[in-house]
C-alpha cells in the first residue's frame, strides 16, 4: 500500500503541494482529480522521486520512497505512466516495451510479457518495428502503458492517460485500466476527465491549488453537488 502523510512540495518560492495526506490500499483504483495546476502531476512526480519533497513522508509497502533513489523505485513494483507519455521516440515500439523491462533482474518472462502487452494492445503488435515517435497520440499512450506493464508492477501511477485522445480511445484506455485492476494491480489515477475517472475508481481525492479539499468514495463524489458543479460541468 501507498501511504502519503503531510506531503509538501515547492518549486522555489511556489508551493505546489501543501500538506496533503492520501493513501491507496492494495487492489484499489484511487483517483486524484482537480483542475490544471492543482498539484496532481507534482504529487505523482514526488512519489516516483522525479521531484524532491519539502516535508512529509511517502511510504510504499514499508519502504520510504523519499529516501529511495528515483531509478530504484520501479524495482519496488511501482510503475509510472507519465503525463505526455514520454515514449522514446527514436526507438521502435518493441524497444520501448523492452526498456520497460530494464529493471528486471530475471529476464526469462520478457517474451511472455511482450505477448501479453500485444494481446492488450493488438495495434502495437502491428507497429512493433515502427519508431514510437511516428505513432499517433493514442498509440503512444498504449506504448507508455505497455512499457509500464513490462516492469511487472503491483502498482501503477497514471498521469492524464486520456489527455488529447478521442472519446473512443479514452474508453479503450479506461477499459485497459479496469482490466489491469481486475488482475490485482493497484492504480493511482490522475485525471482532468473527472467523470471517467470517478466512474472506474473506488475512492477519490479532490485537489485544489495544492490542498486536498474533498475525499471519499468515488460513487459519492460523482453525485456530490460541489464536485458536479466544479468538475463534471453539471
Amino acid at each position: 500500500m501507498l501511504d502519503i502523510k503531510n506531503l509538501s512540495v515547492s518549486y522555489g518560492a511556489i508551493d505546489a503541494v501543501k500538506d496533503i495526506s492520501l493513501h491507496v490500499d492494495d487492489g484499489e483504483i484511487v483517483s486524484l482529480i482537480g483542475a490544471n495546476g492543482a498539484g496532481k502531476t507534482t504529487t505523482l512526480h514526488t512519489i516516483t522521486g522525479l521531484v524532491p519533497a519539502k516535508s512529509g513522508s511517502i511510504m510504499f509497502n514499508g519502504q520510504d520512497l523519499l529516501k529511495t533513489k528515483a531509478n530504484r523505485i520501479v524495482t519496488l513494483g511501482m510503475a509510472h505512466v507519465p503525463e505526455g507519455r514520454h515514449v522514446f521516440t527514436r526507438m521502435s515500439v518493441q524497444e520501448n516495451l523492452e526498456m520497460g523491462a530494464y529493471s528486471l533482474k530475471d529476464t526469462s518472462h520478457v517474451a511472455e510479457d511482450l505477448d501479453k502487452v500485444y494481446t492488450y494492445f493488438p495495434r502495437l503488435k502491428e507497429r512493433r518495428r515502427q519508431l514510437a515517435g511516428t505513432l499517433s497520440g493514442g498509440e503512444q499512450q498504449m506504448v507508455a502503458m505497455g512499457r509500464a506493464m513490462m516492469s511487472r508492477p503491483n502498482t501503477i501511477l497514471m498521469d492524464e492517460p486520456s489527455m488529447g485522445l478521442s472519446p473512443k480511445l479514452v474508453k479503450e484506455i479506461f477499459r485497459i485500466i479496469e482490466k489491469l485492476h481486475d488482475e490485482g494491480i493497484t492504480v493511482l489515477l490522475v485525471e482532468q476527465n473527472a467523470k471517467m475517472a470517478l466512474s472506474i475508481a473506488d475512492r477519490a481525492y479532490v485537489l485544489e491549488t495544492g490542498r486536498i479539499t474533498m475525499e471519499g468514495k468515488a460513487s459519492d463524489l460523482l453525485h456530490d453537488e460541489k464536485v458536479r458543479k466544479a468538475y463534471l460541468g453539471a
Binding site: 522525479l50 530504484r72 520501479v74 507519465p82 514520454h86 515514449v87 522514446f88 526498456m99 530494464y102 529493471s103
Partner: protein
C-alpha cells in the same frame, strides 16, 4: 605512378585520417547526444592519449610487451580523465548553470588540459616510439603502407563495435534512452548519472584509440596537437549530424577524403590559383554549404533544440 593509382592511394590516405576523425567525432557525438554539451576538451583527450602512449611504450617494452599494448593504458587514462572532467567540472555546472555556462566550462577545460600538459611536458614536439611495423602492401603499382592499413581496419572495427554496442546491448540502449528522455529513463530504472559517466568513459577511451591511429602515422606529440584534430572531428560530427553515431562515422570519413583529395588535386584543377594550403579552408567551406542545405547534418534528425 599512373593517375589512377595516385587517385586510389589518395583515397586510402583520406580513409586513414578520416578514420581518426570518425573515432574522435564518435566521442563528440555520444557526449553531445547524452547531455547536449559540445565537449570542446574532447580533442585534448587525444593529446592525453598520445602522451600516455609515449610514456608507456618504453615501460611496456622493458617488460617484454609489444608497443601496441600501450593502447590499453592510454584508453584507461583517457577514460579516467574524461570521467573526472565530467564529474568535477561539467556535472556541477550542468546542475547549477545553463548550457552556455557548460559550453564555456568546456572551453576552459580544453585550455587547462593544453596548458597543464605544456607545464608537465614542455611545448616542444616529442617523438612517440614506433608502435607497429607492418610491411607495405603492394598491389601492382599501388602501395599502401602498414600505418594506413592499421588505421582503416581499427577504425572500421571500432565503428562497427560501437554501433552494435549502442543498438544491441542493455547499456547501449540505456544510453539511447537517457539521451532522449532522462525522466522516462529514471522511471525505467536506469541509473542516469551512471550512464552519463559511462558515456564519457567510452567517448574519451575512443580518443585514445584515435591517438594510437594518429601516432602510427605521425609519431609526434605536443600539448596542442588535439586542437586541430578536435576541431576537424567536431566539423565531422556536425557534418554527419551531431548526436548521430552513423553520422559521426560518415562525417569523419567524408572530411578525411575531402581533405586528402583537395590537397592532392586542388592545385592542378585550379591551375595553381588555389594551393593545397587551402585544404582546411575548403573543408570548412563544405561544412557551411552542407549546413545551409541540411541544417541538421547529413544523417542528423531535424531538431528544435538549442545548442
Amino acid at each position: 605512378m599512373s593517375g589512377f593509382v595516385m587517385f586510389i592511394s589518395q583515397i586510402f590516405n583520406g580513409l586513414k585520417i578520416g578514420s581518426v576523425y570518425a573515432l574522435v567525432a564518435l566521442g563528440y557525438t555520444m557526449v553531445y547526444g547524452i547531455i547536449r554539451l559540445l565537449n570542446f576538451a574532447h580533442g585534448d583527450f587525444i593529446m592525453i592519449g598520445a602522451y600516455t602512449l609515449m610514456l608507456s611504450i618504453p615501460a611496456l617494452a622493458a617488460m617484454g610487451m609489444p608497443a601496441w599494448t600501450a593502447v590499453i593504458p592510454a584508453t584507461l587514462v583517457c577514460a579516467l580523465v574524461g570521467v573526472l572532467v565530467e564529474r568535477l567540472a561539467y556535472k556541477p555546472v550542468r546542475e547549477k548553470g545553463n548550457s552556455m555556462t557548460a559550453l564555456i566550462t568546456a572551453i576552459a577545460m580544453s585550455l587547462l588540459l593544453e596548458n597543464g600538459s605544456q607545464a608537465i611536458f614542455g611545448a616542444d614536439y616529442k617523438t612517440v616510439p614506433t608502435i607497429v611495423s607492418i610491411p607495405t602492401l603492394t598491389i601492382g603499382q599501388l602501395k599502401i603502407d602498414g600505418a594506413t592499413i592499421v588505421s582503416i581496419v581499427l577504425g572500421v572495427v571500432m565503428m562497427v563495435a560501437m554501433q552494435l554496442y549502442v543498438k544491441r546491448t542493455k547499456q547501449g540502449k540505456a544510453m539511447r534512452a537517457v539521451s532522449e528522455d532522462k525522466e522516462a529513463s529514471l522511471l525505467m530504472g536506469i541509473n542516469v548519472n551512471g550512464t552519463i559517466t559511462l558515456t564519457f568513459a567510452i567517448g574519451s577511451g575512443l580518443a585514445a584509440i584515435a591517438a594510437l591511429m594518429y601516432c602510427v602515422s605521425y609519431p609526434q606529440v605536443s600539448p596542442t596537437m588535439g586542437m586541430m584534430l578536435g576541431l576537424k572531428a567536431f566539423v565531422a560530427a556536425v557534418l554527419g549530424g551531431i548526436g548521430s553515431i552513423p553520422g559521426a562515422m560518415v562525417g569523419g570519413l567524408a572530411i578525411g577524403l575531402i581533405e586528402s583529395l583537395t590537397k592532392a588535386y586542388i592545385g592542378t584543377i585550379t591551375g595553381g590559383v588555389i594551393t593545397s594550403a587551402f585544404s582546411d579552408a575548403i573543408v570548412f567551406a563544405i561544412l557551411i554549404i552542407v549546413l545551409l542545405v541540411r541544417p541538421s547534418g547529413l544523417m542528423g534528425e531535424p531538431e528544435t533544440e538549442k545548442v
